[in-house]
Amino acid sequence: MTESVSTEKVAMQSYEIMVIVRPGLGEQKTLEVLGEIKGLISSNGGKVTAEDLWGTRDLAYTIKKHDQGYYAVFNFKLEPTKLQALNKPLNLNQEVLRYLITKTPEGYTLVTLEQYAEEAAKEEEEAKKKKEDSAKKKVVKQSVEKAQVVEKKVEKKESKPKSSESEDKLKDIINDPDISL
Protein backbone atom coordinates (compact mmCIF):
# COMPACT_ATOMS: atom_id res chain seq x y z
CA MET A 1 0.00 0.00 0.00
CA THR A 2 2.61 2.52 1.08
CA GLU A 3 4.81 1.66 -1.91
CA SER A 4 2.05 2.38 -4.38
CA VAL A 5 1.53 5.80 -2.76
CA SER A 6 5.21 6.71 -2.94
CA THR A 7 5.51 5.74 -6.61
CA GLU A 8 2.39 7.70 -7.53
CA LYS A 9 2.97 11.17 -8.84
CA VAL A 10 2.03 13.79 -6.24
CA ALA A 11 -1.12 15.56 -7.33
CA MET A 12 -0.79 19.22 -8.25
CA GLN A 13 -2.79 21.65 -6.15
CA SER A 14 -4.04 24.92 -7.58
CA TYR A 15 -3.06 28.10 -5.76
CA GLU A 16 -3.38 31.81 -6.16
CA ILE A 17 -0.77 34.40 -5.31
CA MET A 18 -1.35 38.12 -4.95
CA VAL A 19 1.69 40.37 -4.86
CA ILE A 20 2.06 44.04 -4.01
CA VAL A 21 5.15 45.42 -5.74
CA ARG A 22 6.77 48.68 -4.65
CA PRO A 23 5.39 51.61 -6.66
CA GLY A 24 7.44 53.99 -8.77
CA LEU A 25 9.76 51.37 -10.23
CA GLY A 26 8.72 52.02 -13.80
CA GLU A 27 6.88 49.61 -16.05
CA GLN A 28 9.90 47.60 -17.15
CA LYS A 29 11.23 46.99 -13.66
CA THR A 30 7.85 45.94 -12.24
CA LEU A 31 7.36 43.50 -15.09
CA GLU A 32 10.85 42.16 -14.40
CA VAL A 33 9.96 41.60 -10.75
CA LEU A 34 6.75 39.82 -11.76
CA GLY A 35 8.75 37.76 -14.27
CA GLU A 36 11.06 36.72 -11.42
CA ILE A 37 8.08 35.52 -9.39
CA LYS A 38 6.72 33.57 -12.35
CA GLY A 39 10.16 32.10 -12.89
CA LEU A 40 10.26 31.10 -9.22
CA ILE A 41 7.01 29.17 -9.62
CA SER A 42 8.06 27.43 -12.82
CA SER A 43 11.52 26.59 -11.46
CA ASN A 44 9.80 24.67 -8.66
CA GLY A 45 7.91 22.58 -11.21
CA GLY A 46 4.79 24.74 -11.15
CA LYS A 47 2.66 26.12 -13.93
CA VAL A 48 1.18 29.62 -14.16
CA THR A 49 -2.37 29.18 -15.49
CA ALA A 50 -3.78 32.70 -15.32
CA GLU A 51 -2.68 36.20 -14.51
CA ASP A 52 -4.31 39.54 -13.83
CA LEU A 53 -2.38 42.78 -13.47
CA TRP A 54 -4.33 45.32 -11.43
CA GLY A 55 -1.79 48.09 -11.81
CA THR A 56 -0.98 50.75 -9.24
CA ARG A 57 -3.76 51.46 -6.79
CA ASP A 58 -4.15 53.08 -3.41
CA LEU A 59 -3.45 50.98 -0.34
CA ALA A 60 -5.99 50.97 2.49
CA TYR A 61 -3.14 51.85 4.87
CA THR A 62 0.53 52.65 4.47
CA ILE A 63 2.98 49.76 4.09
CA LYS A 64 6.65 50.60 4.57
CA LYS A 65 5.81 54.29 4.08
CA HIS A 66 4.12 53.61 0.72
CA ASP A 67 0.58 54.84 0.01
CA GLN A 68 0.29 52.99 -3.30
CA GLY A 69 1.25 49.62 -4.65
CA TYR A 70 1.32 47.64 -7.88
CA TYR A 71 -1.06 44.70 -7.55
CA ALA A 72 -0.71 41.48 -9.52
CA VAL A 73 -2.56 38.16 -9.23
CA PHE A 74 -1.39 34.81 -10.59
CA ASN A 75 -3.09 31.43 -10.57
CA PHE A 76 -0.71 28.50 -10.62
CA LYS A 77 -0.48 24.77 -10.06
CA LEU A 78 2.19 23.35 -7.81
CA GLU A 79 2.96 20.29 -5.76
CA PRO A 80 2.01 21.03 -2.14
CA THR A 81 5.46 20.04 -0.84
CA LYS A 82 7.12 22.66 -3.02
CA LEU A 83 5.01 25.52 -1.72
CA GLN A 84 7.35 26.26 1.19
CA ALA A 85 10.17 26.96 -1.27
CA LEU A 86 8.36 30.06 -2.55
CA ASN A 87 8.33 31.84 0.80
CA LYS A 88 12.01 32.61 1.34
CA PRO A 89 12.77 34.30 -2.00
CA LEU A 90 9.54 36.30 -1.77
CA ASN A 91 10.38 37.45 1.75
CA LEU A 92 13.90 38.44 0.69
CA ASN A 93 12.75 40.34 -2.40
CA GLN A 94 13.02 44.04 -1.56
CA GLU A 95 10.56 45.10 -4.27
CA VAL A 96 7.73 42.90 -2.96
CA LEU A 97 5.89 44.82 -0.25
CA ARG A 98 3.53 41.97 0.58
CA TYR A 99 2.26 38.71 -0.87
CA LEU A 100 -0.53 36.26 -0.14
CA ILE A 101 -0.79 32.66 -1.30
CA THR A 102 -4.22 31.03 -1.07
CA LYS A 103 -5.60 27.67 -2.08
CA THR A 104 -8.28 27.84 -4.73
CA PRO A 105 -11.18 25.39 -4.88
CA GLU A 106 -11.68 22.92 -7.74
CA GLY A 107 -13.13 24.42 -10.89
CA TYR A 108 -12.08 27.92 -9.89
CA THR A 109 -11.40 30.40 -12.65
CA LEU A 110 -9.71 33.70 -11.97
CA VAL A 111 -12.15 36.58 -11.79
CA THR A 112 -10.35 39.72 -12.91
CA LEU A 113 -10.69 43.13 -11.36
CA GLU A 114 -12.44 44.37 -14.51
CA GLN A 115 -15.12 41.69 -14.19
CA TYR A 116 -15.76 42.71 -10.60
CA ALA A 117 -15.97 46.35 -11.67
CA GLU A 118 -18.49 45.44 -14.38
CA GLU A 119 -20.53 43.48 -11.84
CA ALA A 120 -20.50 46.46 -9.50
CA ALA A 121 -21.64 48.80 -12.29
CA LYS A 122 -24.51 46.44 -13.13
CA GLU A 123 -25.58 46.22 -9.50
CA GLU A 124 -25.51 49.99 -9.20
CA GLU A 125 -27.72 50.36 -12.27
CA GLU A 126 -30.23 47.88 -10.87
CA ALA A 127 -30.26 49.71 -7.55
CA LYS A 128 -30.86 53.01 -9.36
CA LYS A 129 -33.76 51.51 -11.31
CA LYS A 130 -35.30 50.15 -8.11
CA LYS A 131 -34.97 53.55 -6.47
CA GLU A 132 -36.66 55.27 -9.39
CA ASP A 133 -39.48 52.74 -9.42
CA SER A 134 -40.08 53.10 -5.71
CA ALA A 135 -39.95 56.91 -6.08
CA LYS A 136 -42.63 56.73 -8.78
CA LYS A 137 -44.78 54.51 -6.57
CA LYS A 138 -44.33 56.96 -3.73
CA VAL A 139 -45.46 59.85 -5.92
CA VAL A 140 -48.59 57.93 -6.91
CA LYS A 141 -49.26 57.03 -3.26
CA GLN A 142 -48.76 60.60 -2.16
CA SER A 143 -51.13 61.94 -4.80
CA VAL A 144 -53.76 59.40 -3.73
CA GLU A 145 -53.27 60.38 -0.09
CA LYS A 146 -53.53 64.06 -1.00
CA ALA A 147 -56.80 63.42 -2.79
CA GLN A 148 -58.10 61.62 0.29
CA VAL A 149 -57.03 64.51 2.49
CA VAL A 150 -58.84 66.96 0.21
CA GLU A 151 -61.96 64.83 0.42
CA LYS A 152 -61.73 64.78 4.19
CA LYS A 153 -61.33 68.53 4.24
CA VAL A 154 -64.43 68.90 2.13
CA GLU A 155 -66.29 66.68 4.57
CA LYS A 156 -65.06 68.80 7.44
CA LYS A 157 -66.27 71.94 5.73
CA GLU A 158 -69.65 70.33 5.28
CA SER A 159 -69.75 69.35 8.93
CA LYS A 160 -68.90 72.87 10.10
CA PRO A 161 -72.35 74.38 9.54
CA LYS A 162 -73.77 71.61 11.72
CA SER A 163 -71.70 72.80 14.64
CA SER A 164 -72.80 76.37 14.03
CA GLU A 165 -76.37 75.18 14.16
CA SER A 166 -75.79 73.64 17.58
CA GLU A 167 -74.11 76.88 18.68
CA ASP A 168 -77.15 78.80 17.57
CA LYS A 169 -79.29 76.45 19.62
CA LEU A 170 -77.03 76.99 22.63
CA LYS A 171 -77.25 80.75 22.22
CA ASP A 172 -80.98 80.48 22.00
CA ILE A 173 -81.06 78.53 25.22
CA ILE A 174 -78.74 81.00 26.96
CA ASN A 175 -80.68 83.94 25.71
CA ASP A 176 -83.95 82.36 26.63
CA PRO A 177 -85.48 84.62 29.25
CA ASP A 178 -87.58 81.77 30.65
CA ILE A 179 -84.55 79.85 31.90
CA SER A 180 -82.62 81.35 34.77
CA LEU A 181 -78.99 80.08 35.07
Binding site: A60, V73, R98, E119
Partner: protein, 70 residues
Protein backbone atom coordinates in the same frame (compact mmCIF):
# COMPACT_ATOMS: atom_id res chain seq x y z
CA UNK B 1 -25.72 46.21 6.53
CA UNK B 2 -28.67 43.88 5.99
CA UNK B 3 -31.71 44.20 8.20
CA UNK B 4 -32.19 42.23 11.40
CA UNK B 5 -35.72 41.05 10.71
CA UNK B 6 -36.47 38.62 7.90
CA UNK B 7 -32.79 38.00 7.39
CA UNK B 8 -31.57 35.23 5.12
CA UNK B 9 -28.09 34.02 4.29
CA UNK B 10 -26.89 36.05 1.31
CA UNK B 11 -24.58 33.29 0.10
CA UNK B 12 -27.06 30.42 0.20
CA UNK B 13 -29.63 32.64 -1.54
CA UNK B 14 -27.17 33.39 -4.36
CA UNK B 15 -25.50 29.95 -4.45
CA UNK B 16 -22.05 31.30 -3.61
CA UNK B 17 -19.76 28.55 -2.33
CA UNK B 18 -16.40 30.32 -2.54
CA UNK B 19 -16.02 33.79 -1.07
CA UNK B 20 -13.25 35.63 -2.88
CA UNK B 21 -11.12 38.07 -0.89
CA UNK B 22 -10.66 40.14 -4.08
CA UNK B 23 -14.39 40.92 -4.31
CA UNK B 24 -14.15 44.03 -2.15
CA UNK B 25 -17.64 45.23 -2.97
CA UNK B 26 -19.14 42.00 -1.67
CA UNK B 27 -17.05 42.04 1.52
CA UNK B 28 -18.00 45.62 2.28
CA UNK B 29 -21.63 44.56 2.59
CA UNK B 30 -20.64 42.66 5.72
CA UNK B 31 -18.65 45.42 7.39
CA UNK B 32 -19.90 48.18 9.66
CA UNK B 33 -18.99 51.79 8.99
CA UNK B 34 -16.04 51.29 11.32
CA UNK B 35 -14.93 48.32 9.17
CA UNK B 36 -15.75 45.71 11.77
CA UNK B 37 -17.19 42.37 10.71
CA UNK B 38 -20.96 42.27 11.22
CA UNK B 39 -21.99 39.32 13.44
CA UNK B 40 -23.99 36.56 11.81
CA UNK B 41 -26.98 37.20 14.08
CA UNK B 42 -27.46 40.49 12.23
CA UNK B 43 -26.79 39.29 8.70
CA UNK B 44 -28.31 35.83 8.90
CA UNK B 45 -25.25 34.26 7.30
CA UNK B 46 -24.84 30.55 7.98
CA UNK B 47 -21.96 29.51 10.21
CA UNK B 48 -20.01 27.86 7.40
CA UNK B 49 -20.21 30.92 5.16
CA UNK B 50 -19.53 33.32 8.05
CA UNK B 51 -16.26 31.51 8.73
CA UNK B 52 -15.30 31.70 5.06
CA UNK B 53 -16.35 35.33 4.97
CA UNK B 54 -14.29 36.35 7.98
CA UNK B 55 -11.26 34.54 6.52
CA UNK B 56 -11.76 36.39 3.22
CA UNK B 57 -12.09 39.74 5.00
CA UNK B 58 -8.91 39.09 6.97
CA UNK B 59 -7.06 38.17 3.78
CA UNK B 60 -8.28 41.36 2.14
CA UNK B 61 -7.11 43.33 5.17
CA UNK B 62 -3.59 41.93 5.05
CA UNK B 63 -3.39 42.83 1.37
CA UNK B 64 -4.46 46.43 2.15
CA UNK B 65 -7.67 46.13 0.11
CA UNK B 66 -9.81 46.92 3.17
CA UNK B 67 -8.68 48.96 6.19
CA UNK B 68 -8.49 47.31 9.59
CA UNK B 69 -10.30 50.09 11.44
CA UNK B 70 -11.58 53.56 10.78
Amino acid sequence: MPAYKGRKCFFTENNITYIDYKNIRLLKKFLTKYNKIVPKYYTGTTLKRQKQLSAAIKNARTMALIPFTK
